[in-house]
């Protein structure tokens, strides 16, 4: 037990550290406090879900991590650098709610897009495309155009695109939000497998309590006006998670705590 904790501590390394993070958007009718006093540590290999109602700042926090928004106060480091430095070093793979595949490129060439931009050799591009296509179970679909694929397959292709280069942080902004429940279950299961195989650190924004509980090692519950963290739950669930774990008492207990956290955040309106 003791030995295990020490090795754990060696591996565990903070990837993202946010201290007293504030972000105020100026709008035409006054300013909006999108993030207020956010403190969070994400360790290497964590699967962190951000859950909360619209306007709670979960997407904003993800965007701050990726240097797509600038915080107006506090500090945040990614891999020990500022988010923008980390971005320049291509530390992120970002998956949006829409797949955002280019309609004029087939799937393989869509996945090559970041590789072309980052200057990988042609042979390396081919190799990586095949690897990630296999990883998201889309082998053989490289020659198809996006419109020839279902919504779930398109989203898998966009995940493959984010995995193709060596970003060790995968940020996903409601990637399965537009998909139906059954497809979503399947993709969640796949995503966990993928996470186990690639050992990436994942930030995952969602609206869905079961999705957050099923996927995460750490669940960050947020609430709106101003956007803030109300609870951080370390999941007690084992890393091996078949879909039917969702009927286990532990799962239901965590889900209950998330729901309580969300309700507490709502009590002020």
């Amino acid at each position: 037990m003791n030995i295990e904790t020490t090795t754990q501590a060696d591996v565990t390394k903070a990837v993202v550290e946010a201290r007293n993070l504030d972000l105020v958007f100026p709008t035409s009718d006054g300013s909006v406090q999108a993030l207020k006093d956010v403190n969070l540590t994400i360790n290497k290999g964590d699967f962190v879900s951000f859950i909360g109602p619209s306007g709670c700042g979960k997407t904003t926090f993800l965007r701050v991590m990726a240097a797509l928004e600038q915080p107006t106060g506090g500090e945040i480091t990614v891999n020990g650098m500022t988010p923008d430095e980390a971005r320049r070093q291509r530390a992120y793979g970002y998956v949006f709610q829409a797949s955002g595949l280019y309609p004029w490129r087939n799937i393989a060439r869509n996945i090559k897009l970041p590789l072309e931009i980052m200057g990988y050799s042609k042979a390396e591009q081919e190799k990586r495309v095949n690897e990630v296509l296999e990883l998201v179970e889309l082998s053989g679909f490289g020659g198809k155009y996006p419109w020839q694929l279902s919504g779930g397959m398109q989203q898998r292709a966009s995940i493959a695109r984010a995995l193709a280069f060596d970003a060790d942080i995968l940020l996903m902004d409601e990637p399965f939000g537009a998909l139906d429940e059954i497809v979503r279950d399947h993709l969640n299961e796949q995503l966990l497998k993928l996470w186990a195989r690639t050992n990436k650190t994942i930030g995952f924004v969602t609206h869905s309590i079961p999705e957050a509980v099923y996927l995460s090692t750490k669940i960050v519950v947020m609430s709106p006006r101003p956007g803030r963290i109300t609870d951080v739950i370390e999941s007690p669930l084992p890393s091996e998670r078949p879909l039917d774990i969702r009927d286990s008492p532990e799962f239901i207990e965590v889900a209950h705590r998330v729901r309580e956290g969300l309700r507490a955040g709502h009590s002020d309106d």
């Binding site: 990726a66 797509l68 971005r87 291509r90 970002y94 004029w104 087939n106 931009i117």
Partner: protein, 309 residues
């Protein structure tokens, strides 16, 4: 099949209307000629008829109806007269092996077409360059866009002679001035369409490139330019038609002897209405062919890009 019937119906209504319009338009001239030739016309004397309604004259002199469709210099030539003239100056010339004779519309059409294509190429190139500048530079947008818009509010017919005079004074003549006028008309739709097209990628697409730390250049070649293709082709179709108009207008003030514009002008000098109308139709057919050709290229390009339906 149903579409074909509908299209043919519309076409025949237009032609019927055209034939009907020939009656009142041409009746006075026909009656004057007929009277001179000794026919009995009511009322007698061109002076008497001058202030009478045309429709009344047609009803009172129904014998003259066929003649309204067969005058030498009608006010409004009948469709078959225009068609005959068109054939006489195109197909018939080809059969005689004189395709490029000065009386052939192929010859005049080619003169106008070459200026059109040159002007279209200049206008499209200029339009794309301006659009790229406008999309990438706020200063450029604020300094160039207003002028581009103002440029299109000046009637080309007023500007064309000045362009020709100015260019002539610096020793430029021939095809170039026409191409310049043509380019002047065609660059604008390309600018507007390409600015919209280059800006069509949404925030998410741009954010994605940002996470890859892509350069502006890479964003342009990999995202903005391909995304703008459908917009470009829509603009090109408007641009080529405008180019043709520009080339024709460019032929008017110079008293050019060749080109569709010259045919129009010559026809109006000598009261050759049939010639005017056949030149008009030649221009319309040419424009339709050019637009159709662009449509074909559009389909091929978009299909190659994987965006064709």
């Amino acid at each position: 099949m149903k579409t074909l019937i509908a299209v043919l119906t519309v076409l025949s209504v237009i032609i019927a209307f055209w034939y009907a319009a020939c009656l009142p338009m041409n009746i006075k001239g026909v009656l004057t000629e007929a009277e001179r030739a000794g026919a009995e016309v009511t009322p007698v004397g061109a002076k008497e008829r001058r202030d009478l309604g045309e429709i009344g004259l047609v009803l009172g002199n129904s014998f003259a109806v066929p003649a309204t469709w067969a005058q030498d210099r009608p006010r409004l030539p009948a469709p078959h007269q225009v068609a005959q003239e068109l054939w006489k100056t195109t197909g018939a010339m080809v059969l005689k092996g004189k395709m490029m004779s000065k009386r052939s519309l192929f010859y005049h059409g080619w003169v106008t077409l070459s200026a059109t294509l040159l002007g279209f190429a200049i206008g499209t190139g200029l339009g794309i360059l301006l659009a790229v500048g406008i999309v990438h530079s706020k200063v450029m947008e604020m300094s160039v866009m207003p002028w581009a818009i103002v440029s299109q509010t000046i009637p080309i017919i007023a500007l064309a002679p000045m362009i020709i005079v100015v260019l002539y004074s610096i020793g430029v003549q021939g095809i170039i001035p026409k191409a310049v006028i043509s380019a002047y008309l065609s660059f604008f739709p390309v600018v507007v369409g390409m600015v919209k097209g280059l800006r069509s990628p949404d925030g998410m697409q741009l954010d994605l490139l940002r996470t890859y730390n892509a350069s502006t250049n890479q964003g342009f070649w990999k995202l903005r330019l391909p995304a703008s293709m459908p917009y470009l082709f829509a603009s090109l179709k408007i641009g080529i038609a405008a180019s043709l108009v520009g080339a024709i207008v460019g032929e008017l003030p110079t008293g050019a002897v060749a080109g569709l514009g010259a045919r129009l002008l010559g026809g109006s000098y000598y009261g050759q209405t049939v010639q005017i109308w056949s030149a008009l139709f030649a221009a319309a057919i040419l424009a339709a062919c050019l637009v159709a050709l662009l449509g074909l290229i559009e389909r091929m390009v978009l299909r190659r890009m994987g965006m064709g339906a």
